[in-house]
């Protein structure tokens, strides 16, 4: 239902322009594989594989967020775990206070925590937007390596903060005992939860598609490729980039909230700098600057994690080799291999 919705809405201004080229076909088949695969697994009673598909979808969503900053905005953020983790903690803390019947953050005049997904998602998106605005404001003054490092440093700051704040578990993390609720849906049902995540992924993809097709998208591309030219045409590149960075943080934060609900747990491992690297890896594996790249990247990554992890204890060794090979020899990632060079390159 959400699926058809997003596709008809893809580009209402230019309905004829949405043609299925090779990249389009690949994208569509990836989504189909996910949806059909999850449904078949559910019918076969294999909840584990449904959850594996949900994991792919959620990690893809985090990648879609980062891709907006990294692939389309040229901002190499090495700190997206901050938004992923913050989103997760919003879901966790909301559920914690709802379970305890105490006001959010223990501040008396705030409403009680919530176990409803919609307000939790909105809170996660809003807070991640604020955080990304703050970090973006301070970081976009720098560029190149400095930008990479300062985003990493901010994420580390939040990581250490979360570790040392005992109220919400610190290093122990925070379990979500009962998965958060959405109206009358049974979110504990693995397939229902999968399609919730899937719907949000489609919504995010369609949002990004429209955003990039708009004047804003053109300005963002120009800000990445030639900021000087953009400035001479009267548009300041920095605010454009900041907006993209904020939206990017929001999408990744939403993914974090879903991830916490999928696992029934939020912990500092969601804020770890390895997580930032992992989200980046997903974007690169799929193909930088391809809208559906993170979907391919996430599917490949989670599948490798599952398959290699079953074969050998040292699966990350092989992940490293694959990654190295992709960076050195297959720069376009999965999409580069399957669909040829990107329009964005």
């Amino acid at each position: 239902m959400t699926q058809s919705h997003s596709f008809t809405q893809t580009s209402p201004a230019r309905p004829a322009r949405f043609r299925l080229d090779r990249e389009g076909w690949i994208s569509l088949s990836l989504l189909l594989i996910l949806a059909v695969g999850a449904s078949v697994a559910y019918l076969a009673g294999e909840n584990f594989f449904v959850n594996l598909a949900s994991r792919m979808v959620i990690i893809a969503l985090a990648g879609v967020g980062l891709n907006l900053a990294l692939g389309f905005g040229g901002m190499v953020s090495f700190g997206h775990a901050a938004y992923f983790g913050l989103g997760g903690y919003v879901a966790g803390i909301g559920a914690f206070h709802a379970f305890d019947m105490t006001p959010a953050l223990g501040i008396p005049f705030l409403p009680n925590g919530s176990d409803q997904m919609i307000p939790l998602w909105l809170t996660a998106i809003a807070l991640c937007g604020l955080l990304a605005y703050g970090i973006g404001r301070l970081s976009l003054g720098t560029s190149g390596v400095y930008f990479i490092m300062i985003t990493l440093a901010f994420a580390q700051m939040i990581y250490y903060f979360a570790i040392s704040w005992p109220t919400y578990g610190g290093e122990d993390g925070l379990p979500i005992y009962i998965r958060n609720q959405l109206w009358g849906l049974n979110t504990n049902n693995s397939l229902v939860f999968f399609f919730l995540c899937f719907g949000l992924l489609l919504a995010a993809l369609s949002f990004c598609h429209r955003l990039l097709g708009s004047r804003f998208g053109a300005a963002l591309t120009m800000a990445r490729l030639n900021p000087v030219r953009l400035a001479t045409s009267g548009v300041e590149p920095r605010p454009i980039k900041l907006v993209a960075f904020v939206i990017s943080g929001m999408i990744t934060g939403l993914a974090g909230a879903l991830f916490a609900d999928l696992n029934g747990f939020v912990g500092t491992s969601m804020l770890d700098w390895h997580r930032s690297g992992e989200i980046m890896v997903i974007v690169i594996l799929g193909g930088v600057g391809r809208l559906y790249g993170p979907v391919a990247g996430a599917m490949l990554f989670v599948a490798m994690e599952f398959w290699l992890g079953g074969l050998t204890e040292y699966w990350q060794f092989f992940l490293g080799l694959v990654l190295l090979a992709v960076v050195l020899f297959a720069r376009g990632g999965v999409f580069g291999l399957l669909a040829g060079r990107s329009r964005h390159e």
Binding site: G169, E171, D172, Y177
Partner: protein, 380 residues
Amino acid sequence: MKKVMNAGLGLLMATAIAAPTQAENVKIGMITTLSGGGAHLGVDARDGFMLAIEQAGRDDVEVLIQDDAQKPDVAKSLADEFVQRENVDIMTGIIWSNLAMAVIPSVVRQGTFYLSVNAGPSDLAGRLCHENYFNVAWQNNSLHEAMGEYMSTEGFENAFILAPNYPAGTDALEGFKARYTGELANEVYTQLGQTDYAAEIAQIRASGADSVFYFLPGGMGIAFMKQYAGSGVDIPVYGPAFSFDEIIIGAIGDAAIGVRNTSQWAYDLDNAANQTFVSSFREKHGRTPTLYASQGYDTARLILAALEVAHPDDKDAFREALRAADFDSVRGDFRFGTNHHPIQDIYVREIVASGDGVTNQLVGVAVEDMQDVYVDQCSM
């Protein structure tokens, strides 16, 4: 990563295939830490557990073992795999409290039994206690509380106390303070995973304390003690057994001699079950078991004793059998409180030279029949 270990090893695989009566088999899922800086705790817990399973020689008990790499999210997804895919009857093995909190509440809610070989976070003893959850080790605070009492009776009046800044660390110092009657020279929290303790050791030197109590498990404890020994500070140190297990003191060496620590078990405890355990563990693995191995061993023996009474499919009967704790614990007297946490003696051990290394030697009892303080918060 996936290791399927059968009781009778290869032989068992054959019987499992040959006998189509798998419905009556008992499947145990063990998630424990086998890699990373804290791996020796998980390895010992596993080896102790598997020793008891092998000794029982039952061919209808299957144990699946997975490594959680000390990461909560990994443990959580492994637990989902065990419960949803493998349909295990019983789960066990988790070492760290943060992993336990991530995994156990949802596992027991889904109707699977969980027996803790090590972690005993306060929530699971108190407000989140559950009828399917049993702790066969201790509640987190216990050993620290006992040390607080012991140091008070030893006449220390000005202790410097130290733990990592994370909830189990806070619990440790709270536990210590609960029964300690003297003054505190200082109370310091370090970073989790911190490896350089120069600043803290300088503070200890300057504090004028008459004793140091610290809780630093795994690699942190080794780093601290090595640096402490090299610093020339000679204030006596005390701690729970977690800071001084056989592996840690082996790495520290002579610098550890004379240190006293509290434990619910010691390898030289004089009872028949313990003598069998220690000698067969040494024979099989060529090393002296740590308290983690003893906890793994006891956990397996409790499960085996309960299996004599009922199959886990009959949940109420099996639960009653677990609650009865009708087995000879290697630590001596053992029974469960109403919150399914142990009531047991806590002993004091001293580190002494032995051969070309050092070892823990039993000194006496610190607290008899110790029960955790959270039992009143449990509504079970």
